[in-house]
Each structure stands twice: as C-alpha cells, then as structure tokens.
C-alpha cells in the first residue's frame, strides 16, 4: 500500500547527493537496513518507481530520511535532487526488507562494507545503534571514488575520531587525500585483512553497493573465513531504464 509523505527538509550531502526528510503521518516505523519504494506520477498518468534505502534511525517522529544520488542519465534522481522542494508530497511503499537489517538486540561484532551509495542503509544501522545507546562493536569499511564522494563525512568523523564508537576505514578507488598511505584502488584481500573484524570473531557482515562491488567484497569476506550465512548483501543498481 502506498503512503504519502511530505517533504519537510532537504540537505545536500555532496555536489551530487541530497538527503530528503519526509514526514509520513501513518508511518508504521522501520528497522535499520530497510528501504522504501518511491513512486512519481506525471500529470498524464505516466509513473516511475525507484527504491531508496532509509538513511535515518528508527525514531518516534514518523520521519524518514533518504539520501538520493543524482545519476546523470537518471529519470527520477534528477527530479528528486533538483526539483523536489519542501512542501511537496511523495508516495512511498514500505518499509521493505527483513533480511538486510540490524536490530539493537544484536550484540555480536558487526562488519559494514559500503560501496558508494551503499553507505545509506549501513548509516541507518550506525545511527540506530547510536540512538539505542548500543555498544555492539561496529567497524565500517567505506569505498568511494575520491574524498569529495564521502557522504555523512562529519558525522562519521565524530563517531570514529572523537567518540571512538565506530571504527571507520576508507578505500579510495580513483583519487586519494594528500599523503594517503594506500594508492587509489579497489578493496582487496590486504585491506580486508587490515581493516575488518577477524573472521574468527564470527561478525555479522553487511555489504551494500553496486552489484559488482558486492560480489567482489562478499567474495573477499568469504575467502578470509567468514561463512556465507554471516554475510548479508544488498545490491544497488539502475531500476529504471538502462541504455
């Protein structure tokens, strides 16, 4: 069933990504990791549906945040990141998903691996843990093209460098910050070994990003000894027309 939410705030995370805050009067609540389907309808009845992970922690305010990346060839993301304004309404279906979720009742070590926009549901998990005052050991390995592509930068910095509550490691695939010890490159076995929980601690792993990223990262986790039932994945990709 489709619910209607009102845009109450928008915030640019980077030059191409925007967080949209929606207030949904009949929102039933959600769990970190779940997503919503958003439906846009033109005046002639043409409609498009896209899935977006919920970025915000569960809260009592009937508010949901999604972070949308503007895809140059996209049909929906340019509208959501440039046209949609405070006061507009959006139709949503959800929350959706029961496997790729994290609940504060989970006390085991958690390994999060994000590729690009795959950070969104993992950020919801990090925020959910903070909101619940949780102490489960969390590590995040976040792969991006270049430093300007990092989403939620200040918040992640505070959590890792000031609060030491989540250990955050970055992998830069195209361009690194000045003086960065590791040359640009994708996640590999060495980086998994040096930044993620040892598999003998049997962490629950969550991997999210484009399909090829997820296949690669999940494969590396598996090769380093994590069993497949401890690796949960969510693949992002174009759900609209590819060309």
């Amino acid at each position: 069933m489709w619910r209607v939410g009102e845009v109450v705030a928008v915030r640019d995370e980077t030059a191409t990504a925007r967080t949209i805050t929606l207030e949904i009067p009949d929102w039933p609540g959600h769990v970190a990791g779940q997503h919503v389907d958003v439906r846009l309808t033109a005046s002639d009845g043409y409609s498009a549906v896209r899935s977006y992970s919920i970025a915000s922690a569960p809260n009592s305010k009937r508010r949901v945040e999604i972070t949308v990346e503007r895809l140059p060839e996209g049909e929906v993301s340019p509208y959501l990141t440039r046209e949609l304004a405070v006061g507009d309404r959006l139709e949503l279906r959800g929350p959706i998903g029961g496997w790729f979720v994290w609940r504060p009742e989970q006390t085991e070590p958690i390994q999060l691996i994000a590729g690009g926009s795959g950070i969104v549901p993992l950020m919801a998990m990090i925020r959910s843990r903070a909101a619940a005052g949780g102490t489960a050991p969390f590590r995040l390995l976040y792969s991006v093209r270049e430093p300007e592509s990092v989403w939620y930068r200040d918040e992640l910095h505070t959590l890792s460098d000031r609060d030491h509550s989540v250990s955050v490691s970055y992998a830069y695939t195209r361009a690194t910050p000045k003086g960065w010890p590791r040359p640009p490159g994708r996640i590999d076995a060495a980086l998994i070994a040096s930044t993620t929980w040892p598999s003998k601690l049997t962490p629950t792993c969550y991997v999210c990003g484009p399909t090829s990223f997820v296949e690669s990262a999940a494969g590396l986790l598996s090769a380093s000894g994590n069993s497949s039932d401890k690796i949960r994945t969510e693949r992002f990709g174009p759900t609209g027309d590819r060309r």
Partner: protein, 200 residues
Amino acid sequence: MAIISRGFSGRRSAEAGKLPPGQYLTATFPVLSAGPTPHVSLDRWEFTIDDGKDVLRRWDWKSFRSLPTETFTVDLHCVTRWSKLGTRWEGVSLDTMFADLKTDASYALVRSYGDYTTNVPLKDLMNHHAWIAFRFEGEDLAPEHGGPARLLVPHLYLWKSAKWVRGITLMLQDRPGFWESLGYHSYGDPWREQRYSSDP
C-alpha cells in the same frame, strides 16, 4: 489513486508522432532482460529451423552471413510502454531463410540462447514482416541488445523480437512462450493494445 508529483514528467521526448495507444516516446534504448546476457562466440553460434523432431535448416555464422541482407528502418514498441521510432537495422529476411521450406505448421516458437522463448504465428514472420538482425544503427548488434543476432518482428510488441535468437521450432498448434505463459497476450499487436492475455 496516485497523487501527481509536481513538476515530474519523466524521460519522455517532446514530439509525439503517431504512437500506438498507451505508449510513450523514448530517446534512449532501454535494456530489459529476464536473465544474464548470453555470450555466444561466433564460432559456436548457429540458427536452426526444426519441426520438433527434425532439423530442417541449419546455419552457422559464416553461412548465415553469406545470405542476402536488407537494411530497414522500423519503429519499436515495448509492452513496458516505451516506443522508439525510426531505428535502423541490417538483417536477413525470414522469407530468405524459409525459402523453399514446405511445412503444415502455422505457428513458430522462437528460441533464444539462455531460456527465453516466444510464440508467433508463422505468417507473421513471412512477407517482409520479420528479420534476423545483426546490425543496429550501422554497428554490430551489441550483446545487451541481443547480439550477435536477434529476431525483429516490429509489427508486434518488442517482447516478440527475441534477443540472442538461436532458432525456430515449427508447431502445428500454438504454444505460449516465456511471457505468454505468465499473463501476456499470445499475439501482441500494439495497435490493438494487446498487452495481456485478458485483452481482446
């Protein structure tokens, strides 16, 4: 009843032209698939016509490419509602491939590499209505759009134009293919908007 999204129009072309009912014009060429793109090497590729028992005709890539070809410009209409007008192709007419073939069959099951099938009345493949196409807009047909070769039968919805085509099985009786067995129309005429099996 959906709410209208202020200022949203989607990826549609400005000029409309004459489109079948319920279609929208697109400037792109969407890639829609029911499975992974098969990668068929040309030295293994073959196209066969069979009657369910015997292979009646077989071409490998070399013999297929030595058949006379045509270039043609057609409009494409996908049941997911996008239409693309004026697309240019090169291919072998099915009239050429069926030349001198005698059959009592009235129906064809078109088979693709992978597991895709679609059913078409045989007469809809004849008389300049269909081609096995291998070049699109002057270039070799890309795998994501059905290369090395796909069926093109543009007077029907595009799901009938099977990508990665590998052969045709002649049938005495009509049998539904991949989408026809799951709610889609057996014939699929876009001008009569025959999208679903419940459509007249």
